[in-house]
């Protein structure tokens, strides 16, 4: 059987590579930003999967459940990567918002979002 984490890690790697490829080769600026987003998505999936434990439970203590607190604690997944991803998602969102605004401004000035027409964007 292929394990859950194998699937998730492979997915995240594929997403990161796809995103990277898109950023490097796409000519339409909006697609570059979308590729960046895909790359961020891959990274976030990677981070969350690091905390995965087989048959783990969500890391929230419930007060009205038969299992004792210690019992609940022993079966929780690792909560730290989830906290890291929370921050990473927000940061990625902020960058995407600003990038898209830059594109909108450029479009307004030049009427185009293709890299070839924007002299300054040759790598």
């Amino acid at each position: 059987m292929i394990s859950v984490s194998a699937v998730l890690y492979s997915t995240s790697l594929i997403l990161i590579l796809l995103g990277l490829y898109g950023v490097l080769t796409r000519k339409n600026l909006v697609r570059v930003v979308i590729s960046l987003d895909v790359m961020d998505l891959g990274v976030n999936i990677f981070l969350v999967t690091i905390g995965y434990i087989r048959d783990g439970r969500a890391p929230i203590y419930l007060a009205d459940v038969p299992a004792s607190l210690a019992d609940q604690a022993s079966r929780m997944v690792d909560p730290l990567p989830q906290a890291l991803v929370l921050t990473a998602i927000v940061i990625g969102f902020g960058v995407t918002a600003v990038a898209l605004t830059l594109i909108m401004r450029l479009y307004e000035r030049k009427g185009t979002v293709m890299v070839s027409d924007l002299r300054g964007l040759k790598w």
């Binding site: 990161i16 995103g19 990277l20 600026l29 790359m39 981070l47 600003v98 830059l102 401004r105």
Partner: protein
């Protein structure tokens, strides 16, 4: 003793306050007051941090559960540099920013400039103080995003394009850094740099190499490591000159110092040799490219690439003398390059042009600006008795003391670069004082530098002017910093 957490809390609070109040006058006063206050505290923290590093406990939770944070010799030295540079550039911004751009909504934009500038400072302070790798990432992002925004500030076509390119490259780097952080956590179970260092040392070679490479790719964009620095010339030349000064003056250098410190202590040491070779390549590429530039700010930007690469080379020699020399060069570059960019800002304002030819004779019309420019340029080249001579000499000494192939190669490259630098910098200075005064500078309106700008530039030039005579006092700061740089 006042808590160094104020270095984070005050700029953040001030930025929130500025947006809350929404008035230009309030923005200026709050910004200057905050940075001035921190600039006064910085020299008080410095000797204390050198003798005994501050260990700061956050949220009353100790590492590894909490965030490892502290102010040691390296942090305190950089804090002083950042605070003073920030204060001087803020003073310069007061008269300069209204000229920096022409677009509708300029008034409110100026308020946002001060808020974002404060956040840039907060990011830089946090970056040097943190000893936790994810916290490093967060402050790094704050620093980066503030720079992206400030580069695009003037919103003309070039600035928007430069900002976009910078942003995309930086974001790729951040993604790689996050993967490196994830891998480090998986290996060590902790986010504190000390724990990660121990775990990586014991890890299989391939694992630690992957983590190191990813991390260098991430930080390398911001630290302008060749070949990840393609964003630099466009960003520096399109940004408002105060921001160019800040970027070349300490932002790139802080990123570089953190990169070096982590490469020395946490990630695999093999990266250092690779970085050394890349550094030499960067020196050559940067200086040669600067030679052919017709626009002043672009020439200065390429010169920054070269100078930062010289610093990186010194750091990668692996010896304490090398680090000492690199830190000295860092200090000198902060002073000289900031002055050059600030002065060029007013050249642009007065003549309306970015091209060096348009400044012919400008040195006579703006005597103070011209003199400051000439002194800073001479220091950059390394003419005695300015500070630049001593710092460059020290780097050459360190390279010779390394007795390695790369050390000797470095000496050759740096000497060659010095020749190139002197060619183009002297050419610019000659143009400034050119004989044909009627050619271009007659179109220059207004007088010399306004008062606040004058004070700011004078501050930076003072550093390189008298620095040569203050080497012993600098050494009392630089030597502990060089030693602590090799620890985590």
């Amino acid at each position: 003793m006042v808590s160094p957490m104020l270095l984070i809390a005050m700029p953040l609070g001030a930025a929130f306050l500025i947006v809350l109040l929404g008035s230009k006058m309030a923005a200026r006063i709050v910004a200057i007051a905050t940075v001035a206050f921190l600039a006064v505290l910085a020299p008080i923290w410095l000797p204390a941090a050198i003798s005994e590093p501050f260990v700061i406990v956050l949220a009353d939770v100790l590492p590894p559960l909490g965030i490892a944070f502290g102010l040691d010799a390296v942090s305190a030295g950089f804090v002083l540099l950042i605070a003073l540079s920030g204060l001087l550039v803020l003073l310069y911004s007061l008269p300069y920013i209204p000229h920096a751009a022409e677009f509708k909504g300029k008034e409110k934009a100026e308020i946002r400039y001060y808020a974002i500038f404060l956040l840039l400072l907060a990011g830089a302070f946090g970056l040097v103080m943190t000893k936790d790798i994810f916290n490093l990432f967060v402050f790094f992002e704050i620093l980066c995003i503030s720079s992206y925004l400030l580069v695009a500030y003037s919103q003309d076509e070039r600035a928007l394009e430069a900002g976009f390119k910078y942003m995309v490259l930086g974001s790729i780097g951040s993604a790689f850094m996050l993967v490196a952080i994830g891998l480090s956590y998986r290996l060590s179970g902790s986010l504190a740099m000390a724990d990660i260092a121990k775990a990586l040392a014991a890890a299989p070679y391939s694992y630690s190499t992957l983590v190191s490479v990813l991390f260098v790719l991430g930080f390398g964009v911001e630290a302008a490591v060749f070949p990840l620095n393609t964003w630099l010339p466009d960003a520096h030349s399109s940004a408002p000159s105060s921001i160019s000064a800040v970027l070349s003056g300490f932002v790139i250098e802080v990123a570089l110092a953190v990169l070096v410190r982590l490469s020395l202590n946490v990630f695999s040491g093999a990266m250092l040799s690779v970085l050394g070779v890349l550094a030499l390549a960067g020196v050559l590429v940067g200086e040669m490219a600067a030679l052919g530039q017709k626009e002043l700010k672009r020439a200065l930007a390429f010169s920054s690439i070269g100078q930062v690469s010289i610093m990186l080379f010194a750091f990668t020699l692996g010896s304490e003398i090398g680090r000492w020399a690199g830190l000295g060069q860092l200090l000198m570059h902060a002073g000289a390059k900031s002055a050059l960019f600030l002065v060029s800002g007013y050249f642009i304002v007065r003549t309306g042009s970015h091209e060096i030819e348009a400044y012919r004779g400008l040195g006579r019309k703006m005597p103070a600006a011209g003199a400051f420019f000439a002194i800073a340029a001479l220091s950059l080249v390394g003419m005695p008795p300015l500070l630049g001579f001593f710092t460059k000499l020290r780097i050459l000494e360190a390279a010779a003391a390394a007795h390695s192939a790369i050390g000797y190669a470095g000496i050759v490259v740096i000497l060659f670069a010095t020749v190139i630098e002197s060619i183009y910098l002297f050419r610019i200075v000659r143009t400034l004082y050119g004989a044909n005064a009627e050619v271009a500078a007659s179109g220059a309106a207004g007088g010399d530098l306004p008062a606040f700008a004058w004070i700011a530039v004078a501050g930076f030039v003072l550093l390189v002017l008298v620095g040569g005579f203050m080497i012993p006092s600098f050494d009392r700061l630089l030597q502990p910093m060089a030693a602590v740089l090799a620890t985590i």
